[in-house]
Every structure is written in structure tokens, then in C-alpha cells.
């Protein structure tokens, strides 16, 4: 008696195809899943206690980044504005706006507003805002068109490969010092070349992608 029936070959071929397919699906999953928007949270605006609009405050009213993010030139953290900073204006205008109720409550109870973090880095990455500002990396290089965002959304993946793309070749991402906080800056023919800016800021790429630069 034959061990296998006439359909055995069909099953075998189907199984082999299935295994091959499974391997391909697995490879695709490893390759594709980490970069889909759902995982990177790119272009995703989390809900905030107050729907703060950078578009209104920055592009509309022309307030400088540093008016609210006071620490950005001096410290690792850009600094989230205190309630008192909001209240420099909002104690005078829109004082009864329902939208600003959490702001007033924060002032009354003396507890900070709990904003939702948009840009999260792992604890083993020691990012420092001040050095990037000092070396001519504009806000919009990482934060995208922040001046035009009605709600703040994440503009970059924050993947290490993205960090390294600039650390390995910073020149195209640099701008003159007085344009760093300009949310609508564009490179023109009058802009100094990347190489000139590299020289001006004294940037050397030899050790810029060493592990210890970001991971201590």
C-alpha cells in the first residue's frame, strides 16, 4: 500500500509555499512595522488640556519661541512655559474664555498644567537643546512647520537613524545664528554655504556620531 495518496504532493507544495510566505511576511513585518506612522507617531497630535495653537501665537501674533520656552538657549530642556507666562497676556485678554479654564484653575490652585508630551526620547538619550541652538540648528529642523501648527504634532520619527543622518552630515541643516528661531526661514542664494557655517560654528564631524555623544 502506498504511504501517500495522489494529493500528497499538493499538500507538500502548499506547505513549502506557506513556509516561504511566512518567512516573507515575517521579514516584511520586521522591516515595515517599525516605520509605519502608527508606531512612529509622526503627524500625530495628542490631545492637550488646552488646545494651544502655535499657528495663532507664532505666525499670527509674532511671539518669539523664547518668550515661552525660556530655557532653550541655556539648558538641555527647552522648558515648558509656566502658568504665569500664559497669564502675562491672558490675565488681560480672553480672561473668561472657556478654553482657558485649566489655565485659570492652575493659577488659582498653584498646580502646573499637565501637558501631554509630543516629543519623547528614551532616558538613555541625552539630548540637549542648548548646544543645537548654539550651533545654528533651527527649531523647524526637528519640530517641522511648528509656526503653522494649529495643534502641535510630531514632525519627525526621532529614530536614531534620523539623529545620525544630521550628526553624520550637519551642513545642510545649519542656518545663520539670527535665523535659528525664524519659523519660516528659507535658504536663499545669499545664505552662507553649509561649509562656511560649519566653519563658523566650529563643527567637526569626526566624533559627532560616537556613541558617547548622545548616550554618555
Amino acid at each position: 500500500m502506498a504511504i501517500f495518496g495522489p494529493r500528497a504532493n499538493l499538500f507538500m507544495n502548499a506547505a513549502l509555499l506557506g513556509v516561504t510566505g511566512a518567512v516573507i511576511v515575517l521579514l516584511l513585518a520586521v522591516w515595515v512595522v517599525p516605520v509605519i506612522g502608527y508606531n512612529t507617531q509622526e503627524r500625530f497630535a495628542p490631545q492637550q488640556p488646552i488646545p494651544f495653537s502655535h499657528k495663532h501665537h507664532v505666525s499670527g501674533l509674532g511671539i518669539d519661541c523664547r518668550y515661552c520656552h525660556t530655557e532653550v538657549e541655556k539648558s538641555a530642556d527647552a522648558g515648558m512655559p509656566s502658568t504665569a507666562i500664559c497669564m502675562t497676556c491672558h490675565s488681560q485678554i480672553w480672561t473668561n474664555a472657556a478654553m482657558l479654564a485649566p489655565d485659570r484653575q492652575s493659577l488659582a490652585t498653584n498646580t502646573p498644567i499637565r501637558w501631554t508630551r509630543v516629543y519623547t526620547l528614551p532616558d538613555y538619550v541625552f539630548f540637549d537643546h542648548s548646544i543645537h541652538i548654539a550651533k545654528g540648528v533651527g527649531c523647524t529642523e526637528c519640530h517641522g512647520p511648528i509656526g503653522d501648527m494649529a495643534l502641535t504634532w510630531k514632525a519627525r520619527t526621532l529614530y536614531m537613524s534620523w539623529c545620525l543622518s544630521c550628526h553624520r552630515d550637519p551642513a545642510p541643516h545649519l542656518r545663520p545664528r539670527d535665523e535659528v528661531f525664524n519659523p519660516h526661514w528659507q535658504r536663499t542664494s545669499a545664505t552662507p554655504s553649509g561649509a562656511a557655517l560649519m566653519a563658523e560654528y566650529n563643527i567637526h564631524t569626526d566624533n559627532l556620531s560616537d556613541c558617547g555623544i548622545c548616550h554618555r
Binding site: 504511504i3 501517500f4 507538500m12 520586521v30 522591516w31 517599525p34 536614531m160 537613524s161 545620525l164
Partner: protein, 455 residues
């Protein structure tokens, strides 16, 4: 002028016993696989092996929780038993390919009965070798970073490092060895399928045999594939083990930084790999009662390979001593004298006796016919090669270029647990091979039987 070699066996000494026929061969070897209950000795051996294997599981679990501080490694001796035993295991595995592929190319008749044992040994030892560096990693869960896969970190393995070549070599070698084993065993699986009585075994071996029918076309293709793979595997194993040598030669540590290490390591693989095949062949011969297929002819041939290995190793040892003494590097010379007269001196001298001095007994035909002596000499060689690797890895780091950073390495209980555990893994796998796959190549021994008959 023709050279005549003294022979202790008559020119027509049989490779297999004269009473072996094609039918009795198939039934004898397949019977070992198809028997309903494994013999008691198999169960006892498997139980011991599995108990040791659980030691490995416990050791690995505790190691992954606690970190490699459990072991005796320290600064300056950051490479301890794990790396030494990696080299040791991969050398044993390489011996399997040397016997199987190299002697296929030379058409040596004794290889036909021992090659399956050699390959089973190889496939059992390779996982032990692969585990060692992974356990040695501080973060073993991230070992796959060695693989150049598309990742979001933007970092790639350092392709200029011999350690990375080693990873690639080992990966290719293991994959290639699995395919080589399978290409060789295919006709045998069909034999087992045909002789199987129970429905389950018929289907199990039937699927494994991939519908082998034994047509001349299939035999022709199988022989071509096998010959091509042998021709790839034989040089491959030399390069794989040379790259293991480069792991050390690439470092600037005194005692490691020497161009002779690629062949030196390969010589070690020849002798220790053959020694373990010798031990397994003697055990399989007695355990499975295959005295008529695995004859004195095979043991004699393996003993000669071992002898050649020991002579080559002795040559490498001479150059290992000559370099530091003749050269002008003070660090090299200091390290060498520390090695032979210092803390590691007992390891050094006993190892030389076990791997080079005692194997010289194999010049005597009397010794090559005595299975007990062969077994003991082989065991001594394997232990000696373990000592050699341990001494080689640790002594250099202990006496590095800066005397203020000298230190000593001493293994902890967990180091020994890792060794015992990998021996358990090796034996567990080998016992499974012994139970579920033909341990002697039926197809190739048939050729030998035919050749003997037509003499």
C-alpha cells in the same frame, strides 16, 4: 620511486566485515531507528545528558538575570571560559566537516561509515559553540544586532572586525552543515521509510525523504549535489576556523597578535575534532552493536588522522615559542614566560603532554588496534585542547602589555555549569540523532560492500 608505507593491515583488509550484505546492512542500521523501544543504555545516557542540559538552562536563566558577573571574568580578563569554550566547541564541530567533507574528496573508504557520526557530532556541537558567545554578551537579547538587518538606529556591524567575520562564518557554516547533512541522509531516510512498519513512522520518514524513489536520475543528482557541497565545505571549514584564529590574531594583546593563529587553530580542530569522532565511533560501535560496519579499519584511519593532527599541532607549538623568544617585543616574551612558568604553567605543560606527547603512541600499530587506549588518548586530547584554549585566552589577558593592569582569572561554579551544560546539550542532541536518524550512511556503506565483494 614509489613510496611504500608500512601496513599493519593486509592490503585487502576489509573495510566492513565480510558477512555484511546489502540487505543485512539496511536492516541493521534502520532497525536502530525503527525499534519501538530504545534500549536501556540509550535511556540512561539520554537521562544523564538531559540532566546536564537542564544545568545549562538554569545557568543561562540565572546568567541572563544576574549578568556575566556570575562568571569569573574580570578586567583585565574580560574573555574567560565562554570564549575559550566557544573556540573549543567550534573546533570539535569543524573536525566533523574535516572527516566528512575532506575525506569524501579523497575518496577514502573509511569515511563512508564514520561520516554520519561526524556530521551528527558537528550538528550537536555547533549549537554549543553558537551559545557561548551569546552567553558572553552583556546583553544577550540583542545578539541579533550582529546581523546586518535594516534597522531604525542607522548603525551597522563593524565589517572590519574579525569578530563580525566570525559571526558570518559561523552562521554560514551551520546552515551549510545542516544542508550537507540532509543532502547526505536523504536516501537513508527513504530506506528507513521503506522498512518502517507503523503508519506514523512511514509518514514521518516519508515526509523527511521528500518522495525519494531511488531512480538513477535521483541518485545522479544526489551524488552531484553531495560532491559539490563537499567541495565547498572542505575549504569552508578551513576558512571558518581560520577566522576564529583571526579573532585573536587581530588583537594587539601579547600572545594573540601572531600571524600563525589561523593555521594553528585549524590544526587544533583537526586533532580535537577527530578525537571526539573517535570516542563517539567507539561508543556507537559498542552501543549499537555495529562491530561489522565500524571496524578496526575505521579506528585505525581515524587514529592516523589524529596522529597527523598532533604532529601539526606540535609544529605550531614550536613556532608559538619561537616567536616571542626570537622577537624583540618585551611584552610578548614576558607574557610567554608567564604562560609557561607562571600561574597557567600547570595548564600549559599538562596540555602539551596530552595533545602532543601521548598521541605519539599512535605511531605504534598495537595502540591503534586497542580501542580502550584509543578512547583514553582521544579523551586526553579533548581535555588537553580545552586546557589549551583556556590557557591561550586567559593567560594573554592576564599578562597584557601594562604590568600594572595584570590580573588572574579563576572560573566560578557558574563557569563550570556553563561547560557541563553545553556538554549536556551536545550529548542530548547526539542521543536524539542516534535514536531518530541512521547513524551510519547506509547508501555509502552499500558502495563499500559492493566494492569489497567485487575484489
Amino acid at each position: 620511486m614509489t613510496m611504500t608505507l608500512p601496513r599493519e593491515f593486509l592490503p585487502d583488509a576489509p573495510v566492513v566485515a565480510p558477512d555484511v550484505t546489502l540487505t543485512s546492512l539496511s536492516e541493521e542500521v534502520s532497525g536502530r531507528v525503527l525499534m519501538d523501544r530504545a534500549p536501556l543504555w540509550w535511556w540512561i545516557g539520554f537521562a544523564i545528558a538531559f540532566a546536564l542540559f537542564t544545568v545549562l538552562i538554569i545557568q543561562m536563566g540565572w546568567l541572563f538575570i544576574g549578568g556575566i558577573g556570575l562568571w569569573g571574568v574580570n578586567i583585565p580578563v574580560a574573555w574567560g571560559l565562554a570564549i575559550a569554550e566557544y573556540v573549543w566547541w567550534i573546533a570539535l564541530a569543524s573536525g566533523g566537516t574535516i572527516v566528512s567533507a575532506l575525506f569524501f574528496l579523497t575518496r577514502s573508504p573509511w569515511r563512508s561509515a564514520t561520516n554520519r557520526i561526524a556530521e551528527s557530532m558537528l550538528l550537536s556541537a555547533a549549537p554549543c559553540a553558537g551559545l557561548m558567545p551569546i552567553m558572553h554578551l552583556g546583553r544577550p537579547g540583542l545578539f541579533y544586532w550582529l546581523f546586518p538587518y535594516s534597522n531604525v538606529m542607522g548603525v551597522w556591524p563593524q565589517v572590519r572586525s574579525p569578530l563580525w567575520w566570525d559571526f558570518i562564518c559561523l552562521l554560514c557554516y551551520i546552515l551549510m552543515s545542516i544542508m550537507y547533512y540532509y543532502a547526505g541522509i536523504l536516501p537513508d531516510l527513504a530506506t528507513v521509510r521503506d522498512l518502517a512498519k507503523s503508519r506514523f513512522k512511514q509518514i514521518f520518514y516519508g515526509i523527511l525523504a521528500l518522495g525519494w524513489r531511488g531512480s538513477s536520475e535521483e541518485w545522479r543528482n544526489q551524488r552531484i549535489v553531495y560532491a559539490i557541497m563537499s567541495a565547498i565545505m572542505a575549504p569552508m571549514v578551513v576558512s571558518v576556523h581560520s577566522v576564529v584564529g583571526l579573532d585573536f590574531a587581530g588583537g594587539l594583546t601579547p600572545g594573540w597578535h601572531d600571524t600563525q593563529f589561523p593555521p594553528y587553530f585549524f590544526f587544533g580542530a583537526v586533532i580535537s575534532g577527530t578525537a571526539v569522532i573517535m570516542m563517539l565511533t567507539i561508543m556507537v560501535r559498542w552501543g549499537c552493536g555495529l562491530h561489522d560496519v565500524l571496524t578496526g579499519y575505521h579506528l585505525n584511519a581515524l587514529a592516523k588522522v589524529m596522529l597527523v593532527g598532533s604532529v601539526m599541532l606540535g609544529y605550531a607549538y614550536v613556532w608559538e615559542a619561537f616567536g616571542p623568544i626570537y622577537g624583540s617585543d618585551v611584552a610578548e616574551r614576558t607574557e610567554f614566560f608567564q604562560r609557561i612558568f607562571g600561574f597557567t604553567a600547570p595548564l600549559f605543560w599538562s596540555e602539551k603532554i596530552l595533545t602532543v606527547v601521548i598521541p605519539q603512541l599512535l605511531w605504534l600499530p598495537l595502540v591503534r588496534r586497542n580501542q580502550l587506549l584509543l578512547f583514553l588518548i582521544s579523551g586526553g586530547i579533548i581535555v588537553g585542547m580545552w586546557q589549551e584554549r583556556v590557557m591561550f585566552v586567559t593567560a594573554s589577558l592576564e599578562h597584557n602589555s601594562i604590568p600594572s593592569r595584570w590580573g588572574v582569572f579563576f572560573p566560578t561554579l557558574w563557569d563550570w555549569a556553563a561547560l557541563a551544560g553545553t556538554i549536556g546539550l551536545f550529548l542530548t542532541l547526539f542521543f536524539l540523532f542516534l535514536r531518530f536518524a541512521p547513524i551510519v550512511s547506509i547508501a555509502e556503506v552499500r558502495e563499500v560492500v559492493e566494492a569489497e565483494r567485487s575484489k
